[in-house]
Symmetry: C2
């Protein structure tokens, strides 16, 4: 049998309560007594039974997800995953709820964080908007002892405990190599469609993409970035325009959302024209486009994994446990038409 608190109490010649006090680093124990107990813990090789501890505590951890109120397929998917987690939450001694904030609105996000802080939840997960005021609000939360993890979009320079999302520079680099290799040494222009250069993920993807393109595919030149604000209609208009004006375009990299519009624009171009296209995020639209050949590869982040990972990390943080790092790494999924889930 594994050693229990009783064993260590016996070994140290103290009572259960005292053992519990040192185990949970609570005050009210003389230094010598504490040492004695700690020695016993070490010698016996005790490891706390977390399940039993949680049962005794009766406490259920309340976590909050702050998500942007964006109307695109990816965010809808993310929301659905959070809801699925909410549905499972009673079973896992957690109480999860979501708070919606306007998208790309640092002030609103910071305000929401500050309001939340007063309620002292056991942990907070947020899709970060990269701005100083948000970073400060997050830092205040962390300094108040509340675990914070960022999801999808990170907030570097902040004190957040963890980031559950993909490496966006690597994503951009990967997109460049796929596009470059698929184009097999052809010479021409590459159009890049982004949501907004104000968002950190998009900037990073572009940065990675440009770097590899410059280093390894000098025959391909990147046109000025088209900013479609993740809006299907705007993306459609801008891409159509670009395609009609520049017939040197042989490749397209869509690094943001709003792919519905891009796909429409692509389908409207001359059938004689062959474009190689790499896009981000697997949705119903991009999936269909991949299958019918309009898109050649899709880079994706698994929202379900991100949400589950965020919760695991928050829970581990809340009861002082460690996580399995490899399990919490969010990978960049690459989908061709053959390996769709």
């Amino acid at each position: 049998m594994r050693p229990t608190v009783h064993d260590i109490a016996a070994a140290a010649g103290v009572s259960l309560a005292t053992v519990d006090r040192v185990l949970n680093q609570r005050p009210g124990v003389r230094h010598v007594t504490r040492e004695k107990v700690e020695a016993a813990i070490r010698e016996i090789g005790y490891v706390r039974d977390v399940a039993a501890a949680n049962l005794a505590k009766g406490r259920t951890y309340s976590f909050v997800f702050i998500v942007p109120a964006s109307d695109n397929s990816f965010m809808h998917g993310l929301n659905a995953e959070v809801m699925a987690a909410v549905a499972r939450s009673p079973v896992e001694r957690t109480d999860i709820r979501t708070v919606e904030v306007p998208a790309f609105d640092p002030a609103a996000l910071a305000a929401a964080l500050d309001t939340l802080r007063a309620e002292r939840p056991a942990g907070v997960a947020l899709v970060a908007t990269d701005a100083p005021e948000v970073r400060d609000a997050v830092d205040r939360m962390v300094q108040d002892g509340i675990p914070v993890v960022t999801v999808v979009s990170d907030l570097t320079g902040s004190l957040r405990h963890h980031y559950a999302g993909v490496d966006n520079i690597a994503a951009g680099r990967t997109a460049a190599r796929l596009l470059g290799r698929f184009l097999g040494g052809a010479k021409g222009d590459v159009a890049v469609l982004a949501g907004s250069m104000l968002v950190r993920d998009h900037r990073e993807r572009l940065e990675g993409f440009s770097a590899v393109m410059a280093d390894e595919f000098p025959d391909l030149s990147i046109l000025p970035v088209i900013e479609g604000r993740d809006d299907p209609d705007m993306a459609h208009m801008l891409v159509s325009d670009a395609l009609s004006k520049r017939d040197g375009i042989i490749g397209v990299y869509s690094l943001g959302a709003g792919n519905r519009g891009l796909i429409r624009a692509l389908k409207e171009t001359s059938v004689a024209r062959v474009l190689t296209v790499v896009a981000h995020e697997l949705t119903d639209h991009t999936r269909a486009a991949l299958l019918d050949g309009t898109i050649d590869a899709i880079l994706n982040q698994d929202a379900g994994h991100e949400v589950r990972s965020a919760i695991r990390v928050l829970k581990a943080k809340a009861d002082g446990l460690s996580v399995i790092d490899a399990q919490e790494r969010i990978r960049l999924d690459i989908f061709l038409k053959d390996n769709l889930p």
Copy 2:
């Protein structure tokens, strides 16, 4: 508060013991009483607290991993992951151990299964060798009420409860498309290196690969499969031989293990010769080869994920719980030099 056994006992007007009996479908309850209790359970919306149940039971589940004694990096990695799980196991009320059996030896595997069955473990995970005797042994185990999951390589047609591994047909198809697109319309031969056509995963990868090659890349012709038994030395010899004899080879698909030998052979070929190479399994060797350009893409299955998934499924089976399907899907990782973990 969540309803407990006490609540349902009160609601049904019976004792805790009776509630427990119907909850765990044990005999000794009159039909009417059972109905009454079941009604109460439903109305109250009771869900069992698994942690508390396990605490009360005190039982620790003993799981066994049967792994082939293969001397290649992938199997070493798999073993390491199982060992990591063993290290974590005391914390999770599980007792995991491994049993090694000779690779590609159906009789030995079947024998090991039958021996194990007598010990009645709480669950078994195995890397299956696809043979009737193995399938029968697995079926006997399942019929004895022992949960069984296959890892890495499946055993279709058997009664195993779950398969923790990638879709190998999809993997082969993906390899074909990557190779075909990377070769960009060139004409030539493609060499295929496999471990053994006796294992189902290798057969399936070849099947998927051949299908896409035939359908979509008619200018590439697949040479007869080289079987290297996942052995580096044998692979080295056979691949060197093939490369020297056929100078029409412009692409290589390595669908098994033993890539150490393949890589050596590739590096020994003339520097003037450009080969496009897709291989399976990320190991130290293949990672280095990807980075130095010897290999162009690596398809991978995350052994850590597979092991953790197998354990989760086994545990869920053992205490009659359900799993999150999406979480247990083992994806096909595609690594280019830019998105290595």
